[in-house]
Structures are given as C-alpha cells and as structure tokens.
Assembly symmetry: C2
Homo-oligomer: 211 residues x 2
C-alpha cells in the first residue's frame, strides 16, 4: 500500500533548522550538522554521484528512505527563494538543472505558477488550493508508490495536524541547537507508535506510525 | 568508576512535565503519560512492592537504571512543596515516611534546613551553597556508587551546562504534550554521544555519554 510519509533530521532539542535562516545559510546557524549523518554515508554519496562515505546503519537508512517514492510535496519555504511572495520566474529551486527528485514535486504556495519540467524526471507543480488538493495530486502522480512530505517543518506540521500523515521517520541527531525551527508544535496530540529503531553513533533513527 | 548521571522521561516534543503544574497535578496536564512505560513495567512494580506488570525491555531499563545509585541530587521544585520559599517544617517530600531512595538525597535550595532522616535509609540533606558543593557531598556519600541527578529539569540543566553531568539517559515517550517544562534549554552546546539504545512500543531509551 502506498504510504504518506515524511522523514526529517531533528536535533535533540527538537529543531529541524538552526536559528537565523538566510539565503546563504538556508538551514540556519549550525543546521548543516543535522545532516552530517546522511552526507557522510555511502548511500547518500552514491545517490549524489560521489564516491566514498561510510557503509553501515546510517547508509542503510538513507537507501531505504529514498526507495519507493512516487511523488513529493514540499512547502514554499523549502522550494525557495527565502522571503516568499510573488514568483521570480528565474527561480527553479535550490537544486540546479537536475534536481535529486526524479518524480513530480508538488509545491504548496499562495502564488500560482506554471509547472516547470526539469532534467532527470523532476517536474515542479505549484498548488494553490491547499494541502488536501496537493495530496490528491501527489497520490495520483505516485500511483503504487509512496508520497513523501519533504518539508519544511510547517508543511509536515500541517499534514500531521490534519491527520493525513501516516508515517514519520525522525533522524534524531545528538546535538543541541538552542534555537531555530521546531518540528513538533501546532500539531495537536497525534497518536504515534514507534515501529522501528536503528541506532548509530551519528543519529538515532525512529520510525513512527501515525494514527 | 562512579558516574554522575541522570535519567528522565521526555515527550517527543521535549517536555519532562506538562503545562499547569500544581499541587494536585505535580507533573502538569498529561504529564503522567510520560511515566506509563515505567509504571506498567514489572521492574517498577517490584520496587514499589506491587505485583504484576510487564517484563521486557522497559522493565529491564527500570531495573538497570535503579542499580548502583549511592546518592541523589534533586532540585527544590522536585522535593516540593510547589511554590518554594521558606520551609514548612511539616513538609518532608512527596514520598511518605519511607521514600524510594534508601540513600542520601541532596536537595538544592536557597533556604537552609536541618537534615531529615526518613525510614528505609533515605536522608534528605539541604544544600544552600550551590551545585558543585552538592555534587561534592553526594560523591562523598555515594563512595564507589553513582550519583543520580534526579531532576527536575532545572537541576539537570544546571549540571549539564556546567559540564558536570557524565551520562544522560532519555526515555523518549511517543507523545506530544504541546507545552510544559522543557529539558534541553539553557544548556549550551554539550557534546553528546549515544552509547545505548533500547526500543519498545512504549518508549525509545537512549543513553548519551556527555563530554
């Protein structure tokens, strides 16, 4: 069965980005440390055409998390550019000509825009009529595969609060950021059940079934 | 080697007590849910003279966590009564005549008070000259055994921020409290390394070595 799922790296004090996010520092101060566990893994490097990296539990988590995704949904803030507002037609995301998605990506926004077909199979669609509509479109695009709510925090919060998220995979990184963007606020009191835990020195990966 | 350690149940959104703590509701709204994993375990029930409870990983975590403690340190708020201030001599803690510590307990306070010898080996000592003095006294009392920083959040924060805590065992409970008392704030940027993870449906137990 296709699953509506999300996966995100989170500090021990609950932040998915550090303080003072900006164009030059999109993950905020210290926020890159949240992704060291992934970036240092062999699985991540293979997917990004690089060599090396560590095999082991973190690498297996990267590989498993990337498998079987038929469509993505992301918030406007994740797509960028920082600041939001009306579109600058030259902005096609942070990821260059060949973004690492390779399937349809549905961007939640208040500003209509024509779809953009990128190289490598990624097409960005812009959805202005809400999260349920975006999910419907993503489900149709994904077919038998999963829909990944890619982020940021606000998009995940909305799907979690609406009872539409079915699985949340948290990569808990043993750092304290002290400020930034929190994941688990304004989400009500969801029923969460840990169904899989994978441990490494770099992160504790806990998969929660929701609802 | 004796270890200076702490162990505490924490919600997925980072709270160790719910909102609106009061005399009738010392863990705040919803805060008792943080301890269900322990209270439902056979290990906890045995320690409290009760029968039944579930064997399994949670019970083993309770048993292991209770072992080898030679002295406790706790904050004034944990000892009570709520509100703080000058002592009411009739207040001897929340735990009745035979508290479940059975070793010396050092209470951090701004108000001097004579030690109180309870039944079963628990003696409460009141320390007014700071966390380092309390630790020195607790270490001396504990001998070859561990010192447990019992809580609440503020006491743990102080020892963590001062670089005096050596091990932090978090029992991460899959609930979202939405408010209350946060553990990991005002602690700086401690170096934390996960050294042991035990998983159950009721909690994910992660032991961090500090520093």
């Amino acid at each position: 069965m296709p699953t509506i799922r999300s996966q995100i790296s989170i500090s021990l004090d609950g932040f998915v980005a550090g303080p003072d996010q900006s164009f030059d520092d999109p993950l905020g101060e210290g926020g890159e440390r949240l992704h060291d566990w992934a970036v240092n893994s062999a699985g991540w490097r293979r997917r990004h055409g690089q060599e090396g990296g560590e095999e082991g539990p973190d690498s297996r988590v990267v590989d498993e998390g990337a498998r079987g995704i038929g469509a993505y949904i992301m918030g406007r803030n994740m797509f960028g550019p920082p600041g939001g507002g009306e579109w600058d037609a030259s902005w096609t995301g942070w990821w260059g000509e060949d973004p690492p998605f390779h399937v349809p990506v549905h961007v939640l926004t208040h500003h209509a825009r024509e779809s953009i077909e990128m190289q490598g199979g990624t097409t960005f669609h812009f959805v202005t009529d809400g999260i349920e509509s975006a999910l419907e479109q993503a489900r149709a695009a994904a077919g038998e595969q999963d829909v990944l709510i890619a982020g940021g925090a606000n998009a995940i919060q909305q799907y979690l609060a609406a009872g539409l998220l079915e699985e949340l995979h948290l990569h808990v990184v043993p750092i304290v950021l002290g400020g930034g963007e929190r994941l688990l606020e304004n989400v009500g009191d969801p029923k969460l059940e840990p169904v899989e835990v994978v441990a490494s020195p770099a992160a504790t990966h806990v998969k929660y079934r929701v609802g």
